[in-house]
């Protein structure tokens, strides 16, 4: 089923009634793309007897009201057994009886409720969703937590003065709990340390494993000899706190990966192929081969590069080249994948699918750009490299020093060396960055900004230049009427003709007319001439609405449709791609922050200059090809600039990949979403500001955490070196520093929502 009207429901005022907190911005944006074939039926899979399951992504779910609206709304559909919203992942899983409802009914109902839904391949996401690693870490964390609490209870008895046989008993029980718990919970660290040592490297996990093993070994020896100090509690709490850091790090990466995979799943597109016998089949766009004949209806994107074989239409090239003026095409015209067919049906003979396509060219440029970018050193890596050596040197010094001082007391020297390893506390360091990234990523996610990777936050905090694309990034990517005839009669005729067309300019005109309260009149013989305009008759007079040359007007550089009334002079309705509402404000803020702002566009000089003027950008360059954009960006980078590229089109993709950091709106082309680092939703540019602020806050918190860890070590290491560290001091300092670091990370949540 092809349902081209589905998306338009979203725009109706009544449809937002499902709750003020559920912005329909994204829904409207996705609807604006007018995906006519979600191919929902392809993603249905059998779940139980008489029931099939369908997983849908519903990006507009924001709150409890949305959940209840969707679940109730879908449950009322005949044959639906259950509908369950997952608010964290913004998804719905529907179980229904295929005999009584179809996948399209489900999608249609969601659309009627005001939520644009996209089916996705749940099977491809299954690995990410099951999250075996995360569960494994959580289980180990649970065991370590249980053991730590019990050992601590026993240790409190020792600290408060238990001695002799009681103390030995406590130590033995502590050991009995701690040993198996550490053996189970410490596996991730031991495994990684062994792997590193085998490869001849040293990583963070080496001193951690060494500290844990030494602590447990020394404690066992102490316990067996009725000694005073046992460090079972320190060993297990070390494992516990580090597992928290490990789990947070994993969570951030998993969320980012799942966002990336969802964005990929979103782009699962279908194409209609016409066989030699005239029969039509639906295939995945990537399965198209050279020589196939693809049918592209108005509202669909061209699935592959090729030539028009039949049909007349206009193509919206904004996603591919950044040009806002639709281009008229007819048989023989070369078309590129990603262009939007706006007016008439086309049949496209798929051309070369391999190396020769525009997409392949772009992919090569992306690859080259990514190779050229220097490997980024994450903060945590930098810090831990210094740290690992420091710790090892320190404990060796402690061991050697005490061997010398005590004249060869091996037991005491090993004890002190172990204390140094434990007290230098990689806990704070292990938590310092993961906690910050988890909190910052969560804050961005709640605002509809999706991170692909934690390192992107670090890079985003370092930028000093922001380069915007124009069409679809700085602007909304859709035409808005800017000048029109005053005469109501002209408006009435134009509106009456415009409602008959799906051309974006015609639709924008019809919408403006509705806004002015103009009622269309009934015309006779209304026909759409693809690539030209709409024609109709009123009492023997011919009315035409369309391209300048078709109605007999002189074309100019504006984007306009012209109305010709009989033989009277044609009148123009001019459109402009309006700036996003907060673009000037965002640009002003960026400049106030001391960032350089530039505009690189593939569009012609006129519109680029106007947009730059309106947004307050001085450095605007027009008619840039993807290669020119990339070259300009690389020139900036050679000059020492760290550039944030904000773009959406296929022509921006190489620049997005080459830039120090990059952001794209969610309606961006598939290649761009794959090349970019952050994806933001909504109709505003404010997420750019929000992301930069959050990234900077994250950097500040991470640096503070490092500074705190360093300060802590400056105080704690001498204490350990001189042998004053008792198990009580080790336990207090370890938990204390971890808590301080985590609380500091949570400060990112404060500030503007």
């Amino acid at each position: 089923m092809r349902d081209t009207t589905r998306g338009s429901v979203v725009g109706l005022p009544g449809s937002t009634a499902s709750g003020g907190c559920c912005p329909t911005g994204l829904a409207a944006q996705l609807a604006a793309e007018r995906m006519t074939d979600t191919g929902a039926g392809r993603w249905v899979r059998p779940a139980a007897q008489d029931a099939v399951a369908l997983d849908l992504m519903v990006p507009a779910i924001r709150c409890a009201a949305c959940m209840s609206a969707i679940e109730t709304g879908l449950s009322n559909l005949p044959g639906v057994a259950s509908a369950r919203v997952n608010l964290s992942l913004r998804r719905v899983r529907v179980l229904f009886d295929p005999a009584r409802s179809s996948a399209e009914d489900v999608v249609g109902r969601l659309s009627a409720l005001g939520y644009e839904a996209r089916p996705f391949d749940a099977k491809a996401m299954a690995d990410i969703d099951r999250d075996a690693v995360g569960r494994d870490l959580l289980a180990r964390l649970g065991v370590a937590g249980f053991a730590m609490m019990n050992v601590m209870l026993l240790s409190v008895a020792v600290w408060s003065g238990a001695d002799a046989a009681t103390r030995d008993l406590m130590h033995w029980i502590s050991g009995l709990i701690a040993l198996p718990a550490i053996a189970f919970s410490g596996v991730p660290f031991f495994r990684s340390a062994i792997a590193a040592l085998r490869a001849g490297r040293v990583n963070m996990d080496v001193p951690i494993s060494l500290a844990v093993v030494l602590a447990v070994g020394v404690s066992l020896y102490e316990t067996a000899h009725s000694g005073e100090h046992a460090y079972f509690d320190a060993g297990i709490s070390l494992v516990f706190f580090l597992l928290i850091g490990r789990y947070l790090d994993h969570r951030t990466r998993a969320v980012a990966r799942s966002a990336a995979a969802e964005l990929t799943a979103l782009s699962a597109r279908a194409a209609t192929v016409i066989a030699a016998d005239g029969s039509r089949t639906t295939v995945a766009a990537e399965d198209l081969a050279a020589g196939m004949l693809a049918e592209v209806l108005p509202g669909e994107r061209i699935p592959a590069d090729g030539r028009v074989e039949w049909g007349q239409s206009d193509l919206d090239r904004s996603m591919v080249t950044g040009e806002t003026m639709p281009e008229a095409v007819g048989p023989g015209a070369a078309v590129h994948a990603g262009m939007l067919n706006v007016s008439g049906p086309l049949r496209v003979r798929v051309g070369a699918t391999g190396e020769a396509t525009l997409l392949a060219e772009i992919a090569r440029m992306i690859e080259a750009a990514e190779r050229g970018r220097t490997r980024y050193d994450r903060w945590a890596d930098k810090a831990s490299r210094q740290y690992v050596w420091g710790v090892h040197v320190m404990s060796c010094v402690a061991f050697g020093g005490w061997m010398w001082a005590t004249g060869g007391d091996v037991y005491r020297s090993v004890m002190i060396a172990a204390a140094v390893l434990i007290i230098t506390c990689p806990c704070a360091l292990g938590l310092a960055v993961p906690a910050v990234h988890a909190v910052a990523g969560g804050r961005l996610f709640r605002r509809g900004i999706f991170l692909k990777d934690g390192a992107i936050l670090e890079r985003l905090a370092e930028i000093d230049t922001v380069v915007f694309d124009k069409t679809g990034t700085l602007t909304e990517g859709r035409p808005v009427l800017v000048s029109s005839p005053e005469c109501d009669r002209a408006w009435q005729f134009a509106a009456s003709l415009a409602v008959a067309s799906r051309h974006p300019l015609a639709q924008a005109l019809a919408e403006s007319a509705r806004g002015r309260g103009i009622e269309p009149v009934a015309l006779d013989g209304v026909t759409e001439v693809p690539g030209a305009g709409v024609e109709g008759w009123l009492g023997g007079k011919r009315l035409r609405l369309g391209r300048a040359d078709w109605v007999g007007a002189a074309p100019d550089d504006r984007t306009a449709v012209w109305l010709a009334e009989g033989d009277a002079a044609p009148q123009a309705f001019a459109f402009e791609d309006r700036l996003r509402a907060d673009a000037p404000e965002t640009v002003a803020w960026l400049r106030a922050q001391g960032l350089r702002v530039a505009l690189f566009s593939g569009d012609s000089e006129g519109p680029v200059a106007r947009a730059a003027e309106a947004a307050g950008i001085g450095d605007a360059r027009a008619r840039m090809t993807p290669a020119a954009k990339l070259a300009a960006l690389e020139a900036l980078a050679r000059g020492g600039a760290r550039v944030l590229m904000v773009g959406d089109g296929i022509n921006d993709a190489p620049s997005l990949a080459a830039a120090h950091a990059s952001m794209s709106p969610v309606a961006a082309s598939d290649v761009s979403r794959a090349a970019t680092g952050l994806v933001f939703t909504g109709q505003h540019l404010a997420p750019v500001r929000f992301a930069i602020e959050t990234a900077r806050a994250a950097r500040a918190r991470a640096l503070e955490n490092f500074a705190f860890s360093a300060l802590y070590n400056v105080v704690a290491v001498p204490v350990a070196l001189f042998g004053f560290v008792t198990p009580l001091i080790a336990a207090l300092s370890m938990s204390g520093s971890s808590i301080v670091v985590t609380l500091n990370a949570l400060r990112i949540r404060r500030g503007r929502p």
Binding site: A64, M67, L87, S88, L138, T166
Partner: protein, 51 residues
């Protein structure tokens, strides 16, 4: 101090019950949608646990 002979096993048992409950909740997918579960308490109608 003989009371320790009773108290220590009791505290360990309680802890182990807590651990078992945690592992059970982990296995039965209760950590999959923390945000959603937090919001569900606002619904009026009786909500059944997920299948």
């Amino acid at each position: 101090m003989t009371v320790l002979g009773l108290l220590i096993p009791v505290s360990l048992l309680l802890g182990a019950i807590g651990l078992a409950a945690f592992l059970w909740s982990l296995r039965s997918n209760q950590y999959d949608d923390l945000e959603g579960d937090a919001a569900r308490i606002l619904f009026d109608e009786a909500d059944k646990p997920r299948d």
